[in-house]
């Protein structure tokens, strides 16, 4: 009897051993498939600090997804890069060129410059299907956490529909996030999250400070579309109509209609297609063209935003909605969504940096229009500092010459950058105030 129990235990131990052997083998196989395509990305960025143009090097990760050396990484790794230095998994160092950036999904496509190497193709990873993921699936994060290149961590998928509201620069209006407990640290950004088969299912992009084992990856299906558009157009063009949507979970309860479907309009932007079409906050939209729309919960909002964003810019779109108990419809023409991040320019002689006024700047600073350039920094002790120009002011004119946008301002600046003894008069706006600043020469 005792022998039988012992035998049974032995068999059990053997079985678990073989199961874990099996898992170990699969993890190694998955790693071996992706490892050769892993890239350590070190862009040298040009950023503007206190009115000065400075260079900083950052570290991130990336994954090669084509034999000719196309690399997928995060926008926040590759944006503003002057040069991108990459180290491949064979430790070869190559330069890369930024093909395209998409801030709204935080993705970027790079192309490795293989011309100096004696090979013209590189190993690449295969993309999986992030729509078929399940909570509990084993995943691995690969990349360079805190710059420690060629690192790998293991975990499971903790959630497949994590929703984040947009906060400042941290935006993700069009996608949900894959949450994982595989360790993700700064430097993992842009690196792949892979499944047990070695397929890339996400791009690691965020972690939570003070949180442990809370990493977040952009679903690879979101990336597939972005890559497609970037390779075609260099940018991702999106339609915009100027609506902030709200889920109807509590609205249903307030209306005592538990089976109501649709999505609530929370906010309408000024001068937007939605405003022109007469849509109002409180309207309950239940169909867009012939597609039903419904968001009971917050995490259903990104798919509605994405649906609208993918309508070709300038198309007619019909909205079907309820207002005051009546069914109504209206048709609008979509606008193109404006740039997320504007270009910046250093006015060395004056001691300021200025930035393009994007729709986001107009909205955040509640500007009346997008005319002028935004003062993004002031160098201490410079003529602009002396003249009490502050960050956040909008430059409207120089010596009476109106500033309309950044490119036109650059031309003006080239002509008037030297400061005569009499000075140059800047007219600036801050909120509703018109402020004068005289930049003086030595």
């Amino acid at each position: 009897m005792r022998f039988i129990i012992f035998l049974l235990m032995f068999i059990f131990v053997l079985q678990t051993a073989s199961a874990s052997d099996n898992l170990q083998r699969k993890i190694l196989e998955a790693k071996n498939k992706v490892f050769p395509a892993l890239v350590h990305v070190e862009p040298v960025k040009e950023v503007f600090e206190d009115g000065k143009r400075v260079k900083v090097q950052v570290t991130g990760s990336g994954i090669i997804f084509s034999a000719e050396g196309l690399v997928l990484t995060n926008n926040h790794v590759a944006e503003k890069a002057r040069f991108v230095f990459c180290t491949l998994s064979n430790r070869d160092e190559v330069r890369a060129e930024v093909i395209g950036l998409d801030a709204l999904t935080d993705l970027a496509v790079l192309k490795l410059d293989l011309s100096e190497k004696d090979y013209h193709t590189v190993p690449y990873a295969r993309f999986g299907d992030s729509d078929s993921l399940e909570v509990g699936e084993i995943v691995m994060a690969l990349g360079s956490p805190l710059g420690l290149s060629r690192s790998m961590s293991l975990g499971v998928i903790s959630s497949i529909d994590r929703y984040f509201e947009d906060v400042g620069e941290m935006v993700s209006p069009y996608n949900l996030w894959i949450q994982t407990d595989a360790a993700i640290n700064p430097g993992n950004s842009g690196g792949p999250l892979i499944d047990i088969n070695g397929d890339v299912v996400g791009i690691n992009a965020r972690a939570i400070f003070f949180g442990e084992n809370l990493g977040f990856a952009i679903p690879i299906n979101t990336a597939k579309l972005v890559i497609d558009r970037i390779l075609r157009d260099k940018v991702v063009k999106r339609s915009e109509i100027g609506i902030e949507w709200q889920e109807i979970k509590d609205y249903r309860k307030y209306k005592k209609k538990p089976h109501l479907t649709g999505v609530l309009i929370a906010h309408i932007e000024k001068n937007s297609p939605a405003e022109r079409a007469g849509l109002q906050p409180g309207d309950l939209v239940y169909a867009i063209d012939d597609e039903k729309v419904d968001a009971v919960y917050q995490e259903e909002l990104p798919k509605i935003r994405k649906h609208i964003s993918e309508i070709p810019v300038g198309s007619n779109v019909t909205f079907y909605f309820h207002r005051d108990g009546k069914d109504k419809k209206t048709t609008l023409v979509t606008d193109q969504r404006g740039k997320f991040e504007g270009n910046e320019f250093e006015c060395d002689n004056w001691g300021i940096s200025v930035k393009e006024i994007t729709p986001r700047v107009v909205e955040n600073l509640k500007l009346k229009d997008a005319k002028g350039v935004l003062v993004s920094g002031v160098r201490i002790g410079s003529p602009a500092d002396e003249a009490e120009v502050f960050r956040g002011y909008v430059l409207k004119s120089v010596d009476g010459k109106k500033v309309t946008d950044l490119d036109q301002f650059k031309d003006i600046y080239q002509m008037v950058k030297t400061l005569p003894e009499k000075g140059r008069m800047l007219e600036l706006n801050y909120k509703d105030a018109l402020i004068f600043a005289l930049l003086r020469g030595e």
Binding site: E244, P281, K366, G423, K431, A433, L434, I435
Partner: protein, 475 residues
């Protein structure tokens, strides 16, 4: 002979030393009388609590007061009610509620507390006035004199109270005027190396005649864990009597929901016309102030002032030089003008222009706005004041009420209402003002599990919040 000279010098030195020692040690007799007219003002300050819709805690505080007339008028520091009264000085946008002090008592001698009430304050001088309401034999009031020839180096005496550690004993310190600030209003500065109980001390000249009051500076901390306000200012600022003597005759009275500080305003934002700017625009020898912004609805807007105008003079005030102080001088001048017509001369597109401006009282601050708390929703709301509208970049004609308090764990808080939200509609009904808010919320059944739809504006974006009412035995 040589010895004699030395002796003489020694005697001379000793004599001089002795003389000055006598001078310093013997303070004028009147100081003792004046000491008796200084009183301890004790009161409770309700403590504003962010997560509550009613202030439940209060802190006992003690400050110094000076009796100034036979009817029991006491002048003290405005730390007793530190709220801004009008929008011109309103800069603290985090705290917006400042309940009036409660249970004020005044004592000239220990254990003899007299009841008193809060009258009002002067926003610019930071002086508050309270009145003793109880019948009692009062010490003689302090009679201030306007001494206009105080100059640098003149000695001064300051009578204050020590803090509770020393049982609030009165104490006297000798100072010299170390600096005089002339503009926009005269202030005397002297070194301050002790932290007295409060800045409301009495200042006398060397003869013991009252000539001023210690001014509450900016670096004044109202600590919540200590019985006295605390200053770490190493410079003592003194307001000479000529600036407040008329207030003693006619002290400011703060009525409930009053219309502000009673000071006048123009409603402009401004910058100095620098010498270099004047020369750039070929306006050499012109001193003035550039108008950056004219607030909608302000006296300046009604009179037709425009952005970019250069103000040359107003009333009998002309500007001299290019110093930034001119901005303070203009501000102080306008604030102390009575309501009514005043002439302004300005340059618009380099051409002179005269405008008649009708000055009005500056609009009241959010501190003075009426607050209403709704227990069912767990919210406190306030009527809209101009300072809220300006600091939130809203249109001048915006209607609604804004959320001044959200009860932690209350229905509003659970639904996601935040302090500073601007409520526009409730259950589809437009909320124009506090009256509407009271009416609409009164109609909500006082039972649990009712959903209330609130349409609001948060930082420029509208949204809906659905508040589910909570079970509550108190309702």
């Amino acid at each position: 002979m040589k010895l004699n000279t030395n002796l003489m010098i020694a005697l001379l030195i000793f004599g001089i030393f002795n003389l000055s020692a006598q001078d310093i040690l013997k303070w004028p007799e009147s100081i003792n009388k004046l000491k008796a007219s200084l009183c301890l003002v004790e009161y409770f300050q309700p403590q504003f609590e962010m997560g509550e819709i009613k202030d439940k805690s209060r802190i006992k505080r003690t400050i110094t007061g000076i009796l100034v007339n036979e009817e029991g008028l006491v002048v003290t520091s405005d730390v007793i009610y530190p709220a801004n009264l009008d929008i011109v000085e309103a800069n603290n946008f985090y705290v917006s509620t400042q309940p009036l002090p409660e249970n004020i008592t005044v004592s000239f001698v220990r254990d003899k507390k007299l009841k008193a009430e809060f009258l009002g304050k002067d926003e610019d001088l930071r002086l508050a006035f309270i009145k003793i309401t109880e019948e009692a034999d009062l010490p003689p009031p302090v009679e201030f004199i306007e001494e206009n020839d105080l100059s640098m180096g003149d000695p001064l005496l300051v009578i204050q109270h020590l803090n509770g550690r020393f049982d609030f004993e009165k104490f006297i310190t000798a100072h010299h005027i170390n600096a005089i600030i002339e503009k926009p209003k005269k202030k005397l500065l002297t070194t301050n190396n002790i932290n007295p109980l409060s800045p409301g001390g009495l200042v006398t000249n060397w003869k013991g005649q009252p000539v001023g009051i210690v001014f509450r500076g900016e670096n004044y901390y109202i600590q919540y864990d200590y019985d006295a306000p605390y200053s770490n200012e190493t410079l003592m600022q003194i307001i000479p009597a000529d600036q407040f003597i008329s207030l003693l005759e006619n002290p400011p009275v703060l009525l409930a929901h009053s219309e502000g500080s009673g000071k006048s305003w123009l409603g402009i934002q401004m910058q100095i016309l620098t010498k270099e700017m004047a020369s750039y625009w070929n306006l050499d020898d012109t001193s003035g102030i550039i108008i950056n912004k004219v607030s909608p609805g302000s006296p300046g807007e009604k009179a037709g002032l425009q952005q970019g105008d250069i103000l040359i003079s107003i009333g009998d005030l002309k500007f001299h030089g290019y110093d930034k102080k001119n901005l303070d001088i203009l501000r102080a001048y306008v604030r102390n003008q009575p309501e009514g017509k005043i002439q302004a001369v300005l340059l618009r597109h380099h051409k002179p222009l005269t405008l008649a401006i009708t000055l009005e009282n500056a609009p009241k601050s959010r501190f003075l706005a009426e607050e209403y708390s709704d227990q069912l929703l767990g919210l406190g709301v306030k009527e809209l004041t101009q300072d809220y509208i300006i600091s939130n970049d809203l249109d001048f004609n915006t209607n609604g009420v804004w959320v001044s308090r959200v009860e932690d764990g209350g229905a509003g808080s659970l639904a996601g209402i935040e302090v500073n939200d601007l409520i526009l509609q409730i259950n589809g009904k437009i909320v124009k003002n506090l009256v509407d808010f009271k009416q609409i919320t009164a109609a909500i059944p006082k039972s649990k599990d009712i959903y209330v739809e609130v349409f609001l504006n948060r930082q420029g974006k509208t949204r809906f919040v659905f508040i589910k009412t909570l079970p509550n035995e108190d309702l």
